[in-house]
């Protein structure tokens, strides 16, 4: 599975760094490093609902506060 986090200007200001860090830590904690690929991308053109995160083809809106929830509901169960 590939999870792509937007690191464009707008999402950066909305906390994409914290989202990346949280997801990165959770992936390691659950020993999913080989199964979930975490990547960055510049602007996805969807800044209003940032931080934009794409799980394979699907778009999600995540904030630093909801990053853990996103991981537990949208990443763990799908694997």
């Amino acid at each position: 599975m590939k999870v792509t986090v937007c690191i464009g200007s707008s999402c950066h200001l909305k906390g994409s760094r914290q989202v990346v860090e949280t997801l990165h830590a959770l992936i390691e904690e659950h020993q999913l490093t080989g199964r979930v690929e975490l990547a960055g991308t510049f602007c996805m053109g969807n800044c209003q609902s940032g931080v934009c995160v794409r799980r394979d083809g699907e778009l999600f809106s995540v904030t630093p506060e909801t990053a853990r929830h996103f991981f537990e509901t949208e990443i763990l169960p799908v694997l």
Binding site: V5, I7, G8, S9, S10, H12, L13, S16, R17, V20, E21, H24, L38, A39, G40, T41, F42, C43, G45, C47, Q48
Partner: protein, 389 residues
């Protein structure tokens, strides 16, 4: 004209407790020559400030208009106001005039002799003594080589530490020895000069006993640099903008998310973003094959502007950006240190996502950053050209 150019940096420290500096540096550039004048007025404070400013202004203006040296010195001597206390009008000066990036003419009157560092060593150069209006003037001509470093100083430099750290101050040969290893690095003239003055300040124990000024001239190769930021106002202009940008010689920097995807499309290569946040405040960089550096846009550039303004002031953030691996630091390294000629390609498209009152970024901020940055770079002595699309 050859491929060389002169990179110039200077700074003064005031005598401890003085509001004004009694040393003055004047730099005049015209088509074929760059003239640097460092003048040190008698005494300190207001009087010295007026003397040195007058001297430097008169000499630099006259020399840059191709007046004879004798004429300039005579004018200075007959124009300077006479000090009521000491009964003399006295101001020492050093002139370095670089012609066509081929030859340096050095004219010195009573300042510490200009230091020439070549291949990491202090070098003696031929000096001819002249007598003008009873004053002994030293004159030299030096054929330039890439990497040559000239350092002009006021006597505050060689007196640093007298009776404090050192018995007899810091002699010229000590300064040569101190600067020799620095001269072979890639440090800019401004950085070399800062290193020297910081050492003087240290020897003075932070309280300079005299006005202390140094001016460093480094002969280096011209290096063009191109920076692309923002998509063009008219999307149909993308190809024209990209082909002009990539046709330029030198390194290429692309700033901005949308901008980098346009560049990537033009080159037919993918954008590969990096997730490494080496500075938490600055978004990560990316790579595109064929582009030297790819960064985020407005946040990164506003940091670059901060570094540029600081560089022109007291250069306090130098250690932060000179070693940093984040986008802003790397742009700063390329623009401030490596480049001599900078071409900005600025797209005027308005990013709808940024026109959100909740965000501290918008179109006018972006344009202002470019304007201010270009101004700072010009003050650093770079040739800057901005093209809008």
């Amino acid at each position: 004209m050859n491929k060389l150019c002169a990179d110039i940096g200077w700074r003064s420290m005031n005598k401890w407790g003085e509001e004004l500096c009694g040393d003055h540096v004047e730099i005049v550039e015209n088509d074929s020559a760059t003239t640097v004048v460092l003048a040190d007025g008698l005494g300190s404070g207001v009087k010295a400030n007026i003397l040195s400013t007058l001297t430097a202004k008169i000499i630099s203006t006259m020399i840059s208009q191709d007046m004879e040296l004798e004429e300039c010195v005579k004018t200075v001597i007959s124009t300077l106001p006479v000090c009521a206390v000491r009964g003399v009008a006295y101001c020492t000066f050093t002139i370095i005039r670089i012609t066509n990036s081929e030859e340096a003419e050095i004219i010195q009157y009573d300042n510490p002799q200009v230091i020439l560092l070549r291949d990491g060593h202090g070098v003696d150069y031929p000096v001819t003594e002249m007598n003008i209006e009873g004053k002994t003037i030293l004159r030299s001509r030096v054929k330039l080589r890439e990497g040559d470093v000239f350092i002009a100083m006021s006597d505050g430099c060689i007196h640093a530490g007298v009776g404090m750290e050192l018995n007899f101050g810091w002699e010229r040969k000590d300064i040569v020895e101190f600067m020799e290893p620095m001269s072979v690095t890639d440090f800019t003239a401004k950085t070399l000069n800062t290193i020297l003055l910081d050492e003087c300040n240290r020897l003075y124990g932070g309280q300079p006993g005299d006005d202390t000024t140094a001016c460093t001239v480094r002969i280096r190769e011209r290096k063009p640099m191109n920076l692309l930021m923002g998509p063009p106002a008219d999307r149909d202009d993308c190809n024209r903008m990209m082909s002009l940008f990539f046709a330029k010689g030198g390194k290429h920097i692309v700033c901005g998310g949308t901008t980098s995807s346009i560049a990537a499309e033009y080159l037919g290569k993918p954008v590969v973003p990096d997730l490494e946040f080496s500075d938490p405040e600055i978004p990560p960089t990316a790579t595109i094959e064929g582009v030297d550096l790819v960064t985020e846009g407005v946040i990164t550039m506003s940091h670059v502007l901060t570094y540029a303004q600081d560089y022109l002031a007291d250069n306090a953030l130098y250690t932060k950006w000179s070693y940093g691996q984040d986008g802003a630091s790397r742009i700063a390294q390329l623009l401030f240190e490596e480049a001599t000629d900078i071409n900005f390609f600025v797209g005027r498209a308005i990013n709808p996502a940024h026109q959100n009152p909740a965000l501290p970024i918008n179109f006018s901020i972006k344009m202002r950053i470019v304007d201010q940055l270009a101004e700072c770079l010009e003050k650093m002595g770079k040739k800057v050209k901005v093209s809008y699309f």
